[in-house]
């Protein structure tokens, strides 16, 4: 994997390299270089299979991390490419022209994180959240509990106690002047 990184470095400007296992490594790369690098990996280096495309919300840093995981079947190797993009008006170049399946991942990321992939087929179609009308739910500032409270009705008969208040009432309470 180190060798692959060294070869790639000669043609592309690459960021951090993390070797996770003998057969799994990650490379950080700038968004503008991703497409060319993916094409090269697919056509020249044997990474013909797009395993998955996923995202992480780094809320505090104002960034999304996209991870493109590729597989080289002949060599039994996995390579992940990590791309950081701005969280505000998040948008990334589509790769559906390299792997048609990418369109589905991109549709999911659009729905769950609100990341735009201009030109990606059926991008705006509902993926699994039919009729969703709130903020994208995988964004970390989405308040799931608040959404559940506002959206779903409570079955009658629900009640709860605060442990500290309950213990006060049971164990000491305000005994007052005796």
């Amino acid at each position: 994997m180190q060798q692959l990184y060294d070869t790639l470095s000669q043609r592309f400007s690459l960021g951090e390299f993390t070797r996770q296992r003998a057969d799994l490594a990650f490379i950080t790369v700038g968004a503008v270089r991703l497409h060319a690098l993916l094409r090269h990996l697919r056509d020249q280096e044997g990474f013909t299979h797009l395993v998955l495309l996923t995202a992480v919300d780094w809320l505090e840093d104002g960034q999304f991390q996209l991870t493109y995981l590729l597989n080289n079947r002949a060599k039994c190797q996995d390579l992940g490419l990590r791309v950081m993009i701005a969280r505000d008006n998040a948008s990334m170049e589509s790769i559906h022209d390299l792997w048609a399946a990418a369109a589905t991942y991109q549709r999911e990321l659009r729905e769950m994180f609100g990341i735009d992939f201009p030109g990606s087929p059926r991008l705006m179609d509902d993926f699994i959240l039919e009729g969703w009308n709130a903020a994208p739910p995988y964004r970390r500032d989405f308040d799931t509990l608040e959404y559940a409270r506002a959206t779903y009705r409570e079955r009658p008969g629900r009640e709860t106690r605060d442990p500290a208040a309950h213990m006060k009432q049971q164990l000491y309470g305000d005994k007052g002047d005796v």
Binding site: L145, A148, R155, T160, P163, A164, H166, Q170, Y172
Partner: protein, 600 residues
């Protein structure tokens, strides 16, 4: 065509003899996968009702409710989680966060009922057929959502403290305190255990938020001795902390200290605000220890004129004259006291009631009197030779050390006692020996064996680090004196048992296992009692007593309606109980002094 191409259809045949991966009868048996997240199970013996599962559930599926037969006790609210499966999405966050590991999931998922309300039940209480299922989802043993280890407290190394009374514990940095505060799940189980019921999760949240001024206000709402308690509190609350089940309890005491260390004293006084308008009522308090001064603080804030009579030259009681400086520096204690006097409390130092002013005088001059005199008379073993002048009481010596009186430091000494007071005097004298002679020769003998020592484990650990020779299961028999009247040391026998079948104190010894522990001085540290001589004969007669202690009602009032009593002399055993007691009598006195119509 190669030979393998010809054979390959046959190699598939070997699969005929393998176990199938599919289910034979999918219409009837449908086992969940081994780690499937099915219906919950909850181990009732382990669950502590902390409600952390309810807090984390993002679907609002959990309610915390009382259950018949599970009472609230220290460290367990008695509530148990009830789950509404109309809302649960089987995410298992509740299992991942559970503070005790009691909550798990079976791999059972098939259950058909026509009544939807049956899908709301309390796992472990409402019996289900999957309660004993072995398979299902459990949190990985080592994976915890909350860090399990306590932030380490920076401290003086043993070598650096052998000859020094400098404070051992340095206190957390802001970054450390935040990390420690982050481990608290705000369940509030600890509050009931704190005698003063301090707002622990709220002030820990103030540390997380970095809002120390709010923190100080929260501390003062229940405790005017946060400098003291932040350092030397017996911290029983930590024994009830939800975090202790799967890791270290939250360092509640150190976080309290951290808050009070961050805010300058003038700011503290400003934050508490001014006392109420004067009521014209006068209260006398005897003893400027934590009990007396807490009562004084509360009563002064309510507008009453408070005068404290204190026999010693400075305030704090045993926190100054007992607890050594290396655990509680005097300037920290002075800060707590300065805030109290800033509320208008007048302290008359060097005024011993009974000698300098009589009880009758106080009864005549004040609307109410509080007796908070602590326990200042050391108990004696009364073994032969214990009346020798070089046989001393721990509390007397500790007081002398604080007062700066010159002490004839013995080159070798023996301490009798295995409690915290014994450790305090042993470690204090060891420091003086190191300063005077450059070596430590202190032997400590305790009745108890190591497993049942009365002193805190930390005290024992630090004493050993400071070269104290700790001997367990040794019963004192005599202080050995030579023909010239010189004290040689302590004779002890091995202890076989301490209590009889009825749990009464009746030590049994093995006289054949006798030892002589060399010492130019012997210190008895086996307990203290109250010096009630100040009361005088007439009042002693009039008061009701209960096993040698003045009898009080639940509000701290004695049988004389002008006299209340609080702290060690009636209850004990520590600072935070004295504080709680001080609040109690202040509340009671305030009610008694306030005209009825105003309180009705």
């Amino acid at each position: 065509m190669s030979i393998s191409d010809v054979l390959s259809p046959f190699t598939a045949w070997k699969n005929l003899f393998r176990d199938p991966v599919t289910i034979k009868d999918p219409l009837n048996e449908r086992p969940g996968a081994a780690r499937y997240r099915g219906f919950h199970k909850n181990d009732m013996d382990k669950c502590i009702g902390c409600g952390t599962c309810e807090t984390i559930c993002q679907n609002g599926a959990i309610d915390m409710l009382p259950v018949d037969g599970i009472p609230a006790v220290q460290g367990d609210s008695g509530l148990r989680p009830r789950i509404d499966y109309g809302r649960c999405c089987w995410c298992a966050l509740c299992v991942d966060v559970c503070m005790t590991g009691s909550l798990t999931m079976s791999n059972e998922y098939k259950w058909v009922e026509s009544d939807p309300d049956l899908f709301r039940f309390t796992p472990g209480v409402d019996k289900k057929y999957w309660d004993n299922a072995e398979l299902g989802y459990q949190r990985h043993d080592e994976k915890h959502l909350m860090p399990v280890a306590r932030e380490e407290m920076p401290e003086l190394h043993p070598e650096a403290r052998l000859d020094s009374f400098v404070e051992i514990v340095h206190g957390y940095s802001i970054a450390q305190a935040k990390l420690e505060a982050d481990r608290c799940v705000s369940c509030g189980l600890c509050i009931a255990t704190c005698p003063a019921h301090m707002a622990i999760p709220d002030y820990i949240k103030a540390v997380r938020d970095g809002d120390y001024e709010r923190g100080v206000q929260l501390l003062y709402a229940t405790n005017p001795f946060s400098q003291v308690c932040g350092r030397v509190c017996t911290h029983r609350c930590e024994d009830s902390c939800a975090a202790r089940h799967e890791g270290d309890p939250i360092a509640i005491r150190w976080l309290k200290r951290h808050i009070i260390d961050q805010v300058p004293q003038e700011k503290v006084i400003e934050l508490i605000g001014k006392p109420a308008a004067p009521t014209g009522k006068k209260v006398a308090i005897i003893g400027a220890g934590p009990a007396g001064l807490t009562a004084a603080f509360d009563l002064a804030r309510l507008g009453h004129a408070v005068t404290v009579y204190e026999a010693q030259a400075a305030g704090g009681g045993m926190t100054r004259y007992g607890i050594p400086e290396y655990r509680l520096p005097y300037d920290a204690l002075d800060k707590d006291i300065a805030v109290i006097t800033a509320m208008g409390v007048e302290i008359k130092y060097n005024h011993r009631v009974g000698t300098d002013i009589a009880m009758q005088q106080l009864e005549a001059d004040y609307d109410a009197v509080v007796l908070a005199i602590g326990l200042h008379q050391g108990r004696s073993t009364r073994i032969p030779g214990s009346d020798h002048p070089q046989v001393r009481k721990a509390v007397d010596l500790l007081r002398q050390i604080t007062a700066g009186e010159t002490i004839d430091v013995p080159k070798s000494m023996v301490v009798i006692g295995g409690g915290n007071v014994a450790m305090d005097i042993a470690r204090s004298m060891a420091r003086l020996q190191m300063q005077h002679y450059g070596e430590i020769r202190v032997t400590l003998t305790a009745l108890e064996d190591k497993a049942h020592f009365l002193a805190d484990p930390v005290e024992i650990k630090e004493s050993l680090e400071e070269q104290i020779n700790i001997l367990d299961s040794r019963g004192p028999q005599a202080c050995v004196i030579d023909d010239n009247g010189k004290l040689l040391g302590l004779k002890t026998w091995k202890v076989l048992s301490i209590f009889d079948a009825e749990r009464r104190f009746a030590p049994k010894y093995d006289p054949t296992d006798e030892q002589l522990h060399e010492g130019e001085m012997i210190v008895e540290a086996i307990g203290q009692m109250a010096d009630v001589s100040l009361l005088g004969e007439a009042l002693t007669e009039k008061l009701e007593w209960n096993r040698g202690r003045i009898q009080i009602d639940p509000n701290g009032r004695t049988s004389e309606n002008w006299l209340w009593s609080a702290g060690d002399c009636v209850k004990g055993p520590d600072v935070i109980n004295a504080v709680a007691d001080g609040h109690r009598v202040a509340t009671s006195i305030h009610r008694a002094l306030t005209p009825q119509e105003a309180t009705a």
